[in-house]
């Protein structure tokens, strides 16, 4: 009996110690340490590549001979040798395609996320699974597009639709998580009881309240579409060379330092796109005053 009591007390002591560890400053330090480690793991290759793009030589273990813009000049089509393809038109074309895909994703993905969160209907779980799982790889969708729409698959419209289909799960998923944090039914009913029609309620109350999810989804869709290689490689037929193909050529055919510059161009574009989408998103959704 006394042993039982002792065991229980000992067990409770262990539990209390574990509790203390989880809740205490040690746990905070461990979690912070893990976060910093993961961030470093992600950031080091990016920073290393970016720095290398300004080096003159990559002969040793580390790039050397700083600082030169020759690699950037070559990649941007301003040099006397190298790929000799200007990045400008391809970049603009890709940005346009990615933006088109992203807009299509907003137009289609937001109502889908809303319906999946708000309503119960037949086969909802199946539709939910299909909507949020990136089931089809780019290469498969590319082949399917070429077989189904042989004339238009490689056009700008074909690429936009393809990007939208490939990236839609990311939009649906992020917007759905925003919707799940709200009481959609009561928000909708409040607005309608105040005299707003359903479309007005959806556009002025429901959608703006999901702005965080929409911005996050847009950023993911845009950046992934801008760099989508497999689908683009399969279907691209005409127009300026999309950026992902340009990157591929630079990385596979050019020396390492020029590849580093090409990859750096992409990183900078992603940072710019995220900044623009955040700014546009926040301004576009803000209705803080009674306008």
């Amino acid at each position: 009996m006394s042993e039982d009591v002792h065991d229980t007390a000992g067990g409770q002591g262990v539990v209390a110690r574990i509790d203390g560890l989880i809740a205490g400053p040690t746990a905070k330090a461990v979690v912070l340490g893990m976060m910093v480690f993961v961030l470093l793991l992600l950031m080091v290759p990016i920073v290393f590549t970016f720095v290398a793009s300004f080096a003159e030589s990559a002969a040793g273990a580390l790039p050397s001979g700083f600082f030169t813009l020759d690699n950037w000049r070559t990649v941007l089509g301003l040099g006397d040798y190298g790929v000799q393809t200007s990045v400008g038109p391809g970049l603009a074309f890709s940005a346009m395609l990615a933006t088109g895909g992203m807009v299509l994703n907003i137009i289609i993905g937001v109502p889908i996320a809303y319906a999946l969160t708000r309503y119960n209907f037949f086969a909802r779980d199946w539709i939910n699974a299909i909507a949020i799982l990136p089931l089809v790889p780019g290469i498969i969708l590319g082949v399917a597009f070429l077989r189904t729409y042989p004339e238009n698959a490689g056009s700008a419209l074909g690429l936009i639709v393809g990007y939208a289909l490939l990236k839609s799960p990311y939009m649906v998923l992020t917007v759905q998580s925003s919707f799940q944090s709200m009481d959609l039914q009561q928000l909708e009913e409040s607005s309608r009881s105040l005299g707003a029609s359903w479309p007005r309620t959806f556009l002025t109350v429901i959608v703006p309240n999901a702005k965080d999810g929409i911005i996050a989804g847009s950023i993911i869709c845009w950046t992934l579409a801008a760099a989508e290689f497999n689908f683009t490689y399969m279907v691209y037929a005409r127009g300026p060379r999309p950026f992902s193909l340009f990157l591929f050529e630079n990385i596979s055919n050019a020396p390492y330092l020029q590849s580093a510059a090409a990859i750096s161009v992409y990183f900078l574009i992603v940072v710019a796109a995220i900044t623009v989408l955040q700014l546009v998103g926040n301004r576009g959704f803000s209705t803080s005053s009674d306008r």
Partner: protein, 340 residues
């Protein structure tokens, strides 16, 4: 404001009946409380009045106008929810002015009217804030101001105080009650909290399994419950049964004589509130099992010789019983209600 009438209102979902033959009127300027256990049809009734549910049968009238099939945005109904349902993409002022904007009221006028309401509710300085930055009580006030801004025909409140702490609830209850009276608002107040309903409402409808068990003023419902369900749902009751014989009934532990019993044939049911029992030397004996201190009152459970439990309440300052005491109790017939 309007008088709202429900006529033989039914709502069925497949084979399930949510609401059955509801017939009642919320008078102009009155606050009617709708209480009942979970799933009794309270919220379905509210949603049918708001227009978010279409009745399977029956009519909803605002004054004499049949609004049964009028869409919610055209009904002029104010809604206040437990979750507040404020629009976080708008400022507090914009939230309150939203309904006026939908009505086409000019910007200056709607801002002025919204500000007036916020002032009236004591949150006039919060107009520029985001609803998310407010406390629960402040958010509930914004929700109320927003619903009142459109001067609704009826204000529908769906468990608006649930989730607030007890002290704030009591304060908000008084404020809200005064405001509704001052503005002469017709209101339907849905709650599972009977105490809240008794404090807030002019009349109370007790719902059970989709139908009304009793509708009346709070004191009528408490003191003269129509049946044992109402007696047990509103407050605490001791349901005592015995065979009536003329003007008396033998309850087993005591014999009660009252002229109201003459109308009863056979089995008589008496509803005795816990306050109906007093300690009295000439009474019947019971053993006190436990005593709970509730602040102003103490609540005790006493066991009769036949094993029946009685719930008793006494003033705390006049503490007359303790656990394990054998006490002599008397039943005050003025506080006993006889049901058929």
């Amino acid at each position: 404001m309007a008088e709202v009438t429900l006529e033989k209102l039914h709502k069925r979902y497949g084979d399930e009946t949510a609401v059955e033959s509801l017939d009642f009127t919320v008078h102009d300027g009155e606050t009617l409380g709708v209480v009942g256990p979970s799933g009794c049809g309270k919220t379905t009734t509210l949603r049918m009045i708001a227009g978010f549910e279409t009745p399977t049968d029956g009519v909803v009238r605002f004054d004499s106008e049949d609004v049964t099939h009028v869409p919610p945005e055209k009904r002029n109904v104010g809604l206040v929810f437990q979750s507040y349902a404020l629009f976080n993409n708008m400022s507090v002022l914009a939230n309150v002015a939203f309904g006026l904007k939908m009505e086409g009221v000019g910007k200056e006028e709607r801002r002025e009217r919204a500000q007036e309401l916020l002032d009236m509710l004591g949150i006039g300085d919060l107009g520029d804030r985001s609803p998310e930055s407010l406390s629960g009580g402040q958010q509930q006030r914004v929700g109320l101001a927003r619903a009142l801004a459109i001067e609704p025909d009826i204000l529908l409140l769906d468990e608006p105080m649930t989730g607030l702490d007890a002290k704030l609830k009591t304060r908000l209850r008084t404020e809200m009650s005064n405001l509704l009276e001052e503005l002469g608002v017709t209101a339907l107040y849905v709650t599972h909290d009977q105490e809240e309903a008794m404090a807030m409402c002019d009349r109370i409808a007790v719902l059970n399994d989709g139908h009304i068990e009793q509708i009346g003023t709070p004191d009528t419902v408490y003191e003269q419950p129509a049946n044992t369900f109402v007696a047990n749902f509103i407050g605490t009751s001791n349901v005592l049964r015995g065979k009536a014989n003329g003007d008396s009934v033998d309850l087993g532990f005591t014999r009660v004589q009252d002229e109201r019993l003459e109308a009863v044939n056979g089995e008589a049911t008496l509803i005795a509130r816990p306050e109906a029992f007093d300690v009295d030397d000439d009474g019947f004996e019971a053993q006190v099992r436990d005593v709970h201190y509730l602040g102003e009152r103490i609540q005790a459970t006493a066991e009769l010789p036949d094993g029946t439990d009685l719930t008793l309440k006494f003033d705390s300052f006049d503490r007359q019983v303790s656990a394990d005491d054998v006490v002599s109790l008397a039943l005050d017939l003025d506080d006993v209600h006889v049901v058929d």
